[in-house]
Amino acid sequence: MEGVKEFDLSTTSLREVNRYLHRDAAGAGVKRVKILNADGAHSIAAGLTAPLEVEIDGHAGYYAGGMNMHAHITVHGNAGPGVGENMMSGTIRVEGFASTAAGASAHGGLLVILGDAALRCGISLKGGDIVVGGDVGSFSAFMAQAGRIVICGDAGDALGDSLYEAVIYVRGKVRSLGADARFEPMTGADHAAVRELLDRAGLSHDPKSFQRVASAKNLYHWNSDANQEY
C-alpha cells in the first residue's frame, strides 16, 4: 500500500525506527507506519510530533508512545509500564492490558486501554483523557490535576487520592477511595462527557451506569489541626 512504511524490530534497531518516525517520515510523505515484532522493546514510537498513524504489532515494553504529540498509535497487544506517559495530544490505543502508570502526567490526547490497567493508572494526570475498558489497579489517578478517566470495570484501593481538578467516572466497584476523593452526583454534562469518551474509545456502555469521583477539595487548604486525616 502506498504511503505505508513497515519495520520489523527483529531485524531493524529501535533507534532506526524511532529516527524514521521523528524525522524521515514527514519528508517521505509517509502517513502510516507499521512496526512488527515489538517483542517488549522499550520506548517504541516515543516522542512523536507528527500526525502519523503508527501500528505496533505485539507487546510493547516501557514508555510506548511516551510524550506523544499528534500521532495516533495502536498497540495490537499489551503495553508495559508508562504507556503514553506525558502524552501531549493524539491518541494511543492498547488492545490488551497496560502495566503500571499508564498515561502518567499526560497533558492532552486520549489513551484507550481495552483490557485492564495496572496500578497508578493516570497518576498525576495533567489534562489528558484515559478510557479503560477493564479494571484499574490501586492508587489510580493519584494527584491527578486535570483531565478525565473513564473506568468501565472496577477500581482498586485509594482511587483518586489527593485529586485536584481531574474527574473520574467509574462503572464497577471501587475497593476504596483515596484521601479527599468523594462520589458526586452525575449531571447531564457528566453523562455527555462519558458518552463522548466511550464513543471515541469504541465502547458501548450506558453512561448512566457510571459514578463520578472528584475532589472534596479539603486538601486545597492545609489544616494543621486535621492530623493528616482527610
Partner: protein, 297 residues
C-alpha cells in the same frame, strides 16, 4: 533494578531443553542486571544421597584435594561434577555434617545450595558470561529460578548474587529492596539461624524457610511475610515441588507471566519471554499485588 527469570516445563519431553529455553530469557534481562547472575536448577531428585552446590571463593579451586579429604572424613562414594570454581558434590553423607565440615576444612568454599533436587550456579559477570562459564545453556530439569543483579544495597560478590537459599531444595530471587532486613535478622538469629551475607534478600529467604520448618506451606509463609517484611519486592521462589511468585502491595517491581500447555515462563519484562515457542498464543498476565501464584513441578 534487577531482573528475575523463572521457567517451569510442564511436559517431560521438554526437560532436555530447559537450559536452551532459559538462556535467552536470562540474557534478555542483562540491562536490568549486568553485574552478577545466578540460576537454580531443579531436576530429578537423587536417592540415597544429597547434592551440595559449592563455590570456591578464593584462590585456585583444588577439588581433587578436597575430594581426598572428604573421603577420609566421611564414608561412602562422593562425586564432584566440577567446572572451574564451581562444583556439584553428590554425597551419601549427611549434608548438614558435610557443610559443617567444609566450614573448617575449606573455609574459602561457599555452600550455594543443598538438597536432593537443586543445583545452583551464581557468580559475578554478565548473564551471558555466566551462562558460558558454567554451560548453563545445556542444563536439563523441570524448572529454574534465575536472577540478573544490579546491586543497590550490598557488595557485588558471588555470595551476594541471587538466588539465595536456605535449608534444602529452596531458593529465592528478589527484585526490589527491603527496609527492615536487620529487624528480621535480629528475630531469626536467636533461633539459631545463621546468615552468610549482609544482603537484604537473604533475610527474606531465611524467614520463609524458617516458617516452612515451623509447619507452614510456602504460600502460608508468604502471607505471613506480608506483615513481617517491609519494602519493595517481587519474589520468585522455587522448591523441588513448586514455582511461586508474589509482588508487594505497591507492585513497583515488574513481573510478567506467560503460560501455555507446555510451560510457565516468568520474567521482569516481556522482552525476555518474546523468543519462547508459542508465546504469541500464551496467556500473558502481570501478577496482581499481594496475590500468590504457584505452579506445581
Amino acid at each position: 533494578m534487577c531482573g528475575i527469570v523463572g521457567l517451569l516445563l510442564k511436559k517431560p519431553q521438554l526437560r532436555e531443553k530447559l537450559g536452551e529455553l532459559m538462556t535467552p530469557m536470562l540474557v534478555g534481562m542483562t540491562s536490568r542486571g549486568p553485574d552478577s547472575a545466578g540460576v537454580a536448577i531443579f531436576g530429578d531428585a537423587v536417592t540415597d544421597s544429597h547434592k551440595l552446590s559449592l563455590f570456591w571463593g578464593e584462590g585456585v579451586a583444588d577439588w581433587k584435594r578436597l575430594a581426598a579429604e572428604l573421603g577420609a572424613a566421611f564414608a561412602g562414594k562422593h562425586r564432584f561434577a566440577e567446572i572451574g570454581q564451581h562444583a556439584v558434590l553428590t554425597t551419601p553423607a549427611n549434608p548438614e555434617e558435610v557443610k559443617t565440615w567444609l566450614a573448617g576444612a575449606a573455609p574459602e568454599i561457599y555452600v550455594l545450595s543443598m538438597g536432593r533436587s537443586i543445583d545452583l550456579y551464581k557468580d559475578i559477570g554478565t548473564p551471558a558470561q555466566i551462562v558460558e562459564r558454567y554451560a548453563l545453556n545445556k542444563v536439563t530439569g523441570t524448572h529454574v529460578v534465575a536472577h540478573t543483579r544490579m546491586a543497590t544495597e550490598s557488595a557485588v560478590t558471588p555470595a551476594h548474587a541471587h538466588p539465595f537459599t536456605a535449608g534444602q531444595d529452596f531458593c529465592l530471587v528478589h527484585n526490589g529492596s527491603l527496609s527492615n532486613p536487620h529487624l528480621v535478622r535480629k528475630k531469626l538469629e536467636p533461633l539459631g539461624i545463621r546468615f552468610v551475607t549482609d544482603n537484604d534478600t537473604e533475610a527474606a529467604c531465611r524467614f520463609f524457610e524458617w516458617r516452612m520448618r515451623e509447619g507452614d506451606d510456602l504460600t502460608t509463609a508468604v502471607h505471613r511475610g506480608f506483615s513481617e517484611l517491609d519494602g519493595f519486592f517481587t519474589f520468585l521462589m522455587g522448591t523441588d515441588k513448586e514455582l511461586l511468585i508474589v509482588r508487594d502491595a505497591f507492585a513497583c517491581k515488574p513481573a510478567v507471566v506467560a503460560e501455555t500447555d507446555d510451560y510457565v515462563a516468568i520474567a521482569s519484562e516481556f522482552r525476555s519471554l518474546a523468543h519462547l515457542p508459542g508465546v504469541r498464543h500464551a496467556t500473558v498476565f502481570e501478577p496482581k499485588p499481594e496475590e500468590v501464584y504457584s505452579w506445581k513441578a
